[in-house]
């Protein structure tokens, strides 16, 4: 364990953790775009900058990938940090001025309009945070998308910009995207992963016929899960909840328990 000070608040935290996790433990908010707890930190968006002081030396670091050490002091609210974060936010906003979620985050940091014009082109507001690329390769083990080209030409793309053969249609990329640049759309019994032009057969809920996910993804999970659990893959989330609710309703024991443990409104 290491003792770390975040804006004057001391926290004890494991030595394998990051400054951002220490800040979370101390209840200090730090804005992030390319961070996700399920994914290895990548340090690309530069929003989570903080001032780190260790052994008398202070420097600007990205908290998402800065490892904690005993005696580390983190300042998240200094003028230098605020100026740098706002600057990064302005650059992002200049890139994708139409993005609602980005504007919202920017407003929270006091940035309304960037001082810079749009000089780099963002496809579908993509800010190249890399979460989709990481979740696809690291978590799903698929790597259907990756970064292509360099510098201002950089894009998230499928191999050779063709529909990706390896895509399973899980939708994890769309789920982690902080600016809503990726969508799963259901059309004609197929699921399309937009903007990558990848189309796959769609699975539908056996109860309500609602679209669920790409067929290859279900097939993969069916192989990995125990048979009794694999059945759950054939109904949608909404129907799963209805089924669960029906089970709960039947159990008077659980009803009584719920009444006792749920405080009434206003208390």
């Amino acid at each position: 364990m290491a003792t770390v000070t975040i804006d004057g608040r001391k926290v004890e935290i494991g030595e394998d953790r990051t400054a951002l996790e220490a800040a979370h433990a101390a209840g200090v908010e730090i804005p992030t775009l390319c961070y996700h707890p399920a994914i290895d930190p990548y340090g690309a968006c530069r929003l989570c900058l903080v001032e780190a002081t260790l052994r008398g030396r202070t420097r600007m670091v990205t908290s998402c990938c800065y490892p904690v050490r005993e005696g580390l002091e983190i300042a998240t609210d200094t003028e230098r940090v605020k100026v740098a974060r706002r600057g990064v936010m302005e650059l992002l906003l200049a890139r994708a001025p139409q993005s609602e979620s980005l504007r919202e985050l920017a407003a929270g940091m006091g940035v309304r309009e960037p001082r810079f014009p749009t000089v780099t082109r963002a496809d579908h507001d993509c800010i190249l945070c890399g979460l989709c690329v990481s979740v696809c390769s690291e978590v799903m083990g698929v790597a259907a998308i990756s970064f292509a080209s360099r510098g201002v030409e950089r894009v998230v793309a499928t191999p050779f910009l063709k529909p990706a053969d390896s895509c399973v249609g899980c939708g994890a990329c769309a789920a982690v995207c902080p600016v809503g640049a990726i969508h799963l759309q259901g059309t004609d019994g197929q699921v399309e992963v937009s903007p990558f032009n990848t189309r796959l057969p769609m699975t539908r809920c056996e109860e309500c016929n609602a679209p669920i996910t790409g067929l290859p993804f279900r097939e993969r999970l069916e192989k990995e899960l125990r048979p009794e659990l694999a059945g759950a893959l054939r109904i949608c989330d909404s129907c799963k909840r209805s089924r669960a609710a029906a089970v709960v309703k039947k159990s008077s024991h659980l009803n009584r328990l719920a009444a006792v443990s749920t405080p009434a409104k206003g208390e």
Binding site: C45, V88, R115, G151, R154
Partner: protein, 637 residues
């Protein structure tokens, strides 16, 4: 000669005696520089011509040895040929000169006046490099064997004492003693950062993890820099020997040389050096019978500037895209494949054998308080002697540029010197008495960098220089982090506007704000130092920015459209050359009478200026608004 596998240090000593005896004979040697610069200027044809001429001479019983060497430094005047004995340096040699060289100089013993060095100031002719100021003012340690040894011959290297330092290290020194010796020398990394080499080695040796790796960074990518290429092409064995010594000190069984693929000759020579060292038992298992094992492989980079950054280089070596990662845990602890890794620059490695042979104290006696030894620089830009030089640390920039470099050609005024590549800065003329030293250059807002030195004269616009480097950095940014990808693009946009005469009040302040964002928020050194070209030019040449923005005037007459042309009536002979060249018929006048230029028609293309042989066209500050009206008229016509 058949390959000899050396199984003990005594074998090495025997090979040295044998090779030295072969080369010390009284034969005439013609050494042709065969590095990239001289080959680009036709050295290969010169070489073939010599082969033929020597073949013919041999029929007459004359024995002449033809030797392939590498960079003599005076690249401006290549192809270069040195004839020994006599130490005669011939420059700008063409195949048609070859027969004459053999007949006159080798057979007749006469020096060919037309091929020797002529001082541009005094016109004095000099045959021997030991009398040419370009050479006499240098101190050559890393480059000391350039021009004397064949870079593709391990025997040549052994003959001049090569691999002796390695034998000494393996038989007489512990790894700790090697590190201590390097520490005594005060050697600092030559790749740009100037980190103390011994400290890096010690941290790597102490780091937990196995195996440890060593890497030689030969991914030199600064515009105008060619020090590392020249070292690899001229003396690859010195780099390999330095690496083996380093590997022994650190405890590494595997090394990598990472060279950019745009350096095919360097790749070929380093590869051959590695192969030859293997065959001689100087690499591989049980080196010189001492039980120390090391393999070195060569890897080619695919031309990304960012791969010169250590973590990007390691990602590239691992087969990933060359993108840096945060170095919050140093690469000496977690580097290549997650193992402790020691990465040094080509020139750093090449310094190591001499430090071991002659001692750390000797090395530390050269240079300044904080910067020891020598530094190799490549001189480029507006300078007479474009080429490769090596000077002791502490020499002033002025001495390098005006003394060794021969000053500025065409009677122009020296304006600034750019050091450190795109990450460095421009140092103005009045500060050129600053000694070359890691810390002093940093204090001036520049840096040593790997040793590129670009000289600028009065015709160079400093805003345009900043624009050039930012354009380079924008192209070379990997695009991973927001600050660098978007920040360099924004800075380019502003600088492009200023150079096009569309600058606005507040642009310089905006540029400086962007500098701050990059310095504080960028992921790697490429991004954080991308501010330097703008920082240093606004610091020393702010007035030029202001004139571009407020007066739409480029005082260096470099940014087209930001100055206008006028006919100097007193000089104009009325020859009509400008009149003929003008694409918009803005010039009028009768033959043999001074012409007139109509500013309302002129589009400032400069055709008249280039056409005039009498200096009768002047470049002057424009009257505001005239370019706009001219442009409108051109469009309308």
């Amino acid at each position: 000669m058949s390959v000899e596998h050396l199984t003990c240090p005594e074998d090495l000593a025997r090979l040295r005696l044998q090779s030295a005896r072969q080369t010390a004979e009284d034969t005439v040697t013609i050494a042709v520089c065969m590095d990239t610069c001289c080959c680009a200027k036709g050295a290969e044809d010169v070489w073939s011509a010599f082969e033929t001429a020597i073949g013919i001479a041999a029929e007459r019983g004359l024995h002449i040895e033809l030797k392939r060497t590498a960079c003599h430094g005076l690249c401006e005047r290549g192809p270069l040929v040195i004839i020994a004995p006599g130490d005669i340096l011939y420059q700008n040699v063409k195949p048609e000169n070859v027969t004459q060289i053999v007949e006159e100089t080798v057979v007749g013993g006469r020096v060919l006046e037309s091929l020797i060095y002529e001082d541009p100031e005094t016109g004095k002719k000099t045959a021997s490099p030991s009398e040419i100021p370009f050479y006499t003012k240098q101190m050559r340690l890393v480059l000391r064997h350039n021009g004397a040894i064949d870079p593709e011959s391990i025997d040549d290297y052994v003959a001049v004492g090569g691999y002796d330092a390695l034998a000494k290290v393996l038989t007489e020194m512990t790894p700790e003693q090697v590190i201590a010796e390097v520490e005594t020398s005060g050697l600092r990394g030559r790749g740009g950062g100037g980190f103390p080499t011994a400290r890096k080695w010690r941290s790597c040796r102490a780091a937990e993890g196995s195996p440890r790796y060593i890497i030689c960074n030969g991914d030199e990518g600064d515009p105008g820099a060619f020090m590392d290429r020249s070292i690899m092409e001229a003396n690859p064995h010195a780099v390999i020997e330095g690496m083996i010594i380093g590997a022994y000190a650190i405890g590494s069984p595997q090394g990598f040389v990472y060279v950019r693929n745009e350096y095919p000759l360097a790749v070929r020579r380093v590869r051959k050096a590695i192969e030859d060292a293997h065959e001689h038992g100087l690499l591989g298992d049980n080196i010189l019978g001492t039980g120390f094992d090391l393999d070195i492989t060569i890897n080619r980079g695919a031309g990304a500037f960012v791969c010169g950054e250590s973590t990007a280089l390691m990602a590239s070596l691992e087969g990933h895209p060359g993108e840096p990662r945060a170095k919050y845990v140093h690469t000496v602890e977690v580097g290549l494949h997650g193992k402790p890794t020691c990465l040094n620059n080509v020139e750093t490695w090449a310094n190591v054998p001499a430090i071991i042979s002659r001692g750390g104290k000797w090395f530390a006696s050269i240079g300044t308080e904080g910067s020891k030894g020598t530094k190799v620089f490549s001189l480029a830009g507006k300078i007479r002697n474009t080429g490769l030089v090596e000077v002791p640390m502490g020499m002033t920039l002025r001495e390098i540029v005006c003394g060794i470099g021969g000053g500025i050609p065409d009677g122009k005024r020296l304006k600034a010197v750019q050091t450190g590549g795109p990450s460095g800065g421009c140092i103005p003329e009045h500060l050129l008495d600053t000694p070359v030293d890691f810390d002093q250059l940093y204090d001036l807002g520049s840096m040593m960098g790997s040793g590129g030195l670009i000289v600028m004269d009065e015709d160079t616009c400093m805003v345009n220089v900043a624009r050039y480097f930012l354009t380079f950095l924008r192209e070379e940014s990997c695009g991973k982090c927001t600050a660098c990808r978007e920040g360099t693009a924004q800075m380019c946009d502003i600088l492009n506007r200023i150079c096009a005469g569309e600058g606005r009040e507040g642009d310089v302040e905006l540029l400086l704000d962007l500098c701050q964002i990059l310095e504080d928020a960028a992921l790697c050194a490429l991004g954080t130092s991308a501010a330097n070209p703008v920082r240093s030019t606004t610091r020393y040449f702010r007035d030029e920015y202001d004139q571009h923005i407020r007066d739409h005037y480029c005082p260096a007459h470099d940014c087209r459209g930001l100055f206008s042309y006028e006919i100097v009536v007193e000089e104009c002979r009325g020859c009509g050359a400008c009149l003929k060249e003008c694409p918009v018929e803005a010039i009028s006048g009768e033959k043999r009478k001074p012409h007139a230029l109509d500013q309302s028609l002129c589009v400032r293309c400069g055709a008249c200026f280039d056409a005039c042989s009498f200096s009768a066209i002047a470049r002057v500050k424009p009257r505001v608004g005239s370019i706009a009206s001219a442009a409108v008229q051109v469009e309308g016509s």
